[in-house]
Amino acid sequence: LLQAEIFQEFAVQEESVTFRINLSVLLDCLTIFGTSSLPGASTALRMCYRGYGYPLTLFLEEGGVVTVCKINTQEPDELLDFDFCSTNVVNKIILQSEGLREAFAELDMTSEVLQITMSPDKPYFRLSTFGNAGSAHLDYPRDSDLMEAFHCNRTQTNRYKISLLKPSTKALALSCKVSIRTDAQGFLSLQYMIRNEDGQICFVEYYCCPDEDITEAEL
């Protein structure tokens, strides 16, 4: 979620504009001048979209060199709507990201699932994996310095496919805070707060549904 304030100039003529675009192509274009930024060198970007049927045009400039990219757009897919409503939230925790970074980096990837337990009682907040070598549990006490907010009403244990959550570690690495919320169905909402070099804030949101193979009886 990038707010308009992040951009120096922001002009959109329609209420909302949606299109689908190849992500790796977009990334290659945005990093056309390389990924490591030299001290003093900055890349300027201008994005233009004329409307349906036109490509997304990127103008990038660094050190007097200009690159123009025209990326063809595609029909947008249906966006998955998890219907995650703030009013349905059962449990909510806000943690400082540095507390989770090491945990996520060391997650046992031989485990198919990441189990998240949130509770008003012990263990409060627990991450568990069940891999080839055995099970691993990581507990965060509610009075930990890393815990910014703790609002758990009911004990919930949910499992999520670890392959679906692993990509979120990139957002975790860049963020300063993360909010973890679950609703009555066990749907997970992860919101990462990222502060960029100018001090502006943007959010990355992940929604994940619980692994359906696990029945209540097993938990």
């Binding site: 290659d28 274009c29 060199v65 200009v66 690159t67 025209k70």
Partner: protein
């Protein structure tokens, strides 16, 4: 001769004072890797059991006697009747000659473009402008370089040296294999003193990189 402290060579014959050798580059590169912190390196062509390049590397050591590491690299001697196959291509009658942009920028751009396309178009004109272009079904990317400067070529025929009557803005272009260009750029570890390229429209791109007294030339043919 400035690269070497000592240089002795006797060719095949007095009128053909050259020796043509063929070797596996990986072998020589591995031998030279040990020479990175060497006090001295000596290379000799020997013929004990078979022709070899003997690379002797004198390495620093804590004791008074120095350590010497020797690599024998097998080489093939190319007979004189085949020497014509290896003639250095002459500088082609190019349409445009232009100095290359900062290699670091060119390297970054070409590396990204390599992810998007198999071929790349290099175009340049006599007004110091060069464009690198790729175009596929998914995307088209063009990078524009300006104020690069064109080398002054003094030539026997009047055509190349005089720009009169030639459209300074018209572009000479060639489409080449992007991997070959990326390999050329990736191989540059040190900034050359001078780097330029000559383009023969739709035929060939000739790169010349000068490092002090050493020149590296690459000829990349245009794709059909």
């Amino acid at each position: 001769g400035n690269v070497f402290d000592e240089f002795q060579m006797e060719g095949v014959a007095s009128e053909h004072n050259e020796i043509y050798l063929e070797l596996v580059p990986e072998n020589l590169s591995r031998a030279l890797k040990t020479a990175q912190s060497a006090k001295a390196v000596k290379i000799k062509l020997t013929n004990k059991h078979c022709p070899c390049l003997r690379v002797s590397v004198e390495l620093p050591s804590l004791s008074s006697s120095s350590r010497i590491v020797t690599h024998d690299i097998p080489v093939g001697l190319i007979p004189r009747r085949l020497w014509n196959d290896f003639r250095e291509p002459s500088v082609p009658d190019f349409d445009v000659s232009i100095y290359l942009p900062v290699l670091k920028t060119m390297k970054s751009v070409v590396e990204r473009m390599k992810n998007l396309s198999n071929s790349i178009v290099i175009e340049a004109n006599l007004s110091g402008e060069m464009n690198l272009k790729i175009e596929t079904d998914l995307v088209s990317v063009t990078t524009h370089f300006k104020d690069l400067g064109n080398p002054p070529w003094a030539s026997e025929d009047g055509c190349q040296s005089s720009a009169e009557g030639r459209d300074l803005e018209s572009m000479a272009e060639a489409r080449i294999d992007i991997k070959k260009l990326q390999q050329l750029l990736a191989g540059q570890q040190v900034n050359p003193t001078k780097a330029l390229c000559n383009i023969v429209s739709k035929r060939i791109v000739h790169f010349i990189l000068l490092h002090e007294d050493v020149s590296l030339q690459y000829f990349i043919p245009a794709l059909a």
